[in-house]
């Protein structure tokens, strides 16, 4: 047999390129969703703070930001990666040259790429939201100075958040492949935990990630969590058949 020898890196590269071409609907859905979120953010979804002064007048301040877009993008990331683990997507690789490891690694690489795209566009949407808010509302616009450095950290942080939620979706998808009962169990456990200890968990998350003001430290924390979650996913996937 004239053996064709393929090394892992080549296989991953080819699979990654294939995914970028084949999963285009994932990117178009991102664009639509973010556009929707921008429209909401620049109109109704603003944070309103009202300060009342002793002299009898109030100052109402609406804050327009891309926070909402980032949350939307995170949700999108979660659903997309959950979707990628379904039969329709995960078996695509096996039409071509792959094994399980290369398939998973190329998917993770793909998720990194879309999360980066989602993070950058979410950060950029901040400008669009401000511009739209300027035209829609005839109020005085106050904006802080905004350098490229801050923009870059903002985009990177947003991408980190999105990537974390894709990792969560990916792990959930793999666990569901173990047994379909997890389709119900996972949401049940999540909702249960949220209603019982929701405030605690949110506070933990807030102090661990959200309030981390030193960017390198934030990056290290995100990276650590990603390794944990994706690693768990790979470990769980090892017990599954390659293709049923």
């Amino acid at each position: 047999m004239s053996s064709n020898v393929v090394n892992r890196t080549t296989a991953i590269g080819r699979l990654f390129t294939f995914k970028c071409r084949a999963f285009t609907e994932i990117l178009s859905s991102l664009l639509l969703l973010q556009l929707f979120a921008v429209l909401l953010s620049s109109t109704i979804f603003s944070t309103v703070t009202t300060s009342t002064f002793q002299e009898g007048f109030d100052v109402t301040m609406d804050t327009y930001s891309s926070d909402f877009v980032i949350v939307f993008t995170m949700l999108w990331g979660f659903l997309c990666s959950l979707n990628i683990t379904t039969k329709a997507y995960r078996e695509d690789d096996f039409l071509f040259v792959t094994n399980r490891l290369t398939s998973h690694l190329s998917t993770i690489l793909f998720l990194c790429a879309v999360s980066a795209a989602g993070g950058i566009t979410a950060a950029l949407s901040g400008f669009l939201i401000r511009v739209l808010a300027y035209y829609i509302h005839d109020n005085v616009i106050l904006s802080t100075a905004f350098g490229p450095g801050l923009f870059l950290t903002g985009a990177a942080a947003a991408a980190g958040y999105v990537l974390l939620s894709t990792a969560a979706g990916y792990l959930a998808g793999i666990i569901i492949q173990w047994h379909r009962a997890f389709k119900l169990l996972i949401p049940a456990v999540v909702i249960g935990l949220m209603s019982l200890r929701g405030a605690d968990i949110a506070e933990q998350f807030r102090s661990f990630l959200y309030l981390e003001s030193f960017f390198p430290m934030f990056a290290v924390k995100v990276f650590g969590m990603l390794v944990l979650v994706f690693g768990a996913g790979l470990l769980f996937a090892k017990r599954l058949e390659v293709r049923q």
Partner: protein, 300 residues
């Protein structure tokens, strides 16, 4: 040299055993037919060879490497079946481009020449094709990949008879021009008969028979003659099939272990000997006496 080698291969799912202690070896550059009834374990066997399924016990090696989850085996083999799930975002032409990127021996000219003939358009989306055309594309893809190991699981599903026979010709020509090891499972064995060199007969997860097609033709014999005469001759045989023939005579199928002399004697006694086509032979060899459909219907 054997390219695919299975040793005591067993695959059990929670409730049932799909493959039961299967051992076989398939030599390089042969076309082997995999024959068996529905649920006999054909697909499980092919998917294990493709590396998709983890053996529960035993082993399956492709070119000396354990097949499960093996990148090298994947690079050298292709598995074609009717449930190939092509991404909807890519057209047939784009899928061929992807094939070219992944498979080292990819043949660009084959799809070029065949697309028109089989009524496929490069701009078509696989999901929107008819069942027969889906299979046609899958088959073209599988042959163009020119993988040393080509595994075809019911590749002709949905094709009409004309396309099937054309496709078999394509396969044969491709095989002659670029020899490879092909395993083909098909319900239309009568149509592939002349294509196959060897045949594996599988039933209830076990390999009943792994012989050359010529031996398969010789495996069973049909005897037509007077009933009493036939009973005499077939005393030591299990009658696999019997039916009444014209003029009060009977037709039985038994295993062909008669010597040359015995056959001559039978002919002299007025028994007509006939060959049993391989497909029919396969059906009789895997048929369960107690489960004959006629029996079931009569017992109702």
């Amino acid at each position: 040299m054997s390219v695919i080698q299975a040793e005591q291969l067993t695959k059990t799912y929670r409730r049932k055993t799909a493959l039961d202690d299967v051992s076989f070896s398939i030599p390089e550059h042969t076309i082997t037919g995999l024959i068996g009834r529905n649920g006999a374990g054909k697909t499980t066997l092919l998917k294990t060879a493709a590396g998709f399924i983890r053996p529960s016990a035993g082993s399956l090696h492709v070119d000396g490497e354990p097949s499960f989850d093996n990148l090298q085996v994947s690079a050298n083999s292709i598995f074609i079946d009717e449930s190939m799930n092509w991404p909807a975002a890519l057209s047939l032409g784009e899928l061929l481009q992807e094939g070219k990127r992944f498979y080292e021996n990819w043949d660009e000219t084959l799809p070029e020449t065949l697309f028109d003939y089989f009524g496929l358009n490069k701009k078509d989306i696989h999901k929107k094709l008819s069942k027969g055309k889906k299979s046609t594309f899958n088959m073209i893809f599988g042959l163009a990949a020119r993988c040393p190991v080509t595994l075809l699981d019911e590749p002709m599903t949905g094709m009409d008879a004309a396309v099937r026979s054309d496709m078999f010709r394509v396969m044969l020509k491709e095989y002659i021009a670029h020899p490879r090891t092909i395993i083909l499972s098909s319900h239309h064995v009568e149509e592939v008969e002349e294509l196959l060199e060897d045949v594996i007969l599988i039933d209830e997860g076990r390999i009943q028979l792994h012989v050359s097609m010529d031996d398969m033709r010789e495996k069973l014999i049909g005897l037509t003659g007077e009933q009493t005469l036939l009973t005499q001759w077939t005393k030591r045989h299990q009658v696999l099939h019997s039916a009444s023939a014209a003029a009060g005579e009977e037709y039985v199928i038994v295993e062909n272990d008669f010597s040359e002399a015995e056959r001559r004697e039978m002919s002299q006694n007025g028994i007509t000997l006939s060959t049993v086509p391989p497909v029919q032979a396969a059906v009789y060899l895997t048929a369960k006496k107690e489960r004959s459909i006629d029996d079931v219907l009569e017992r109702r």
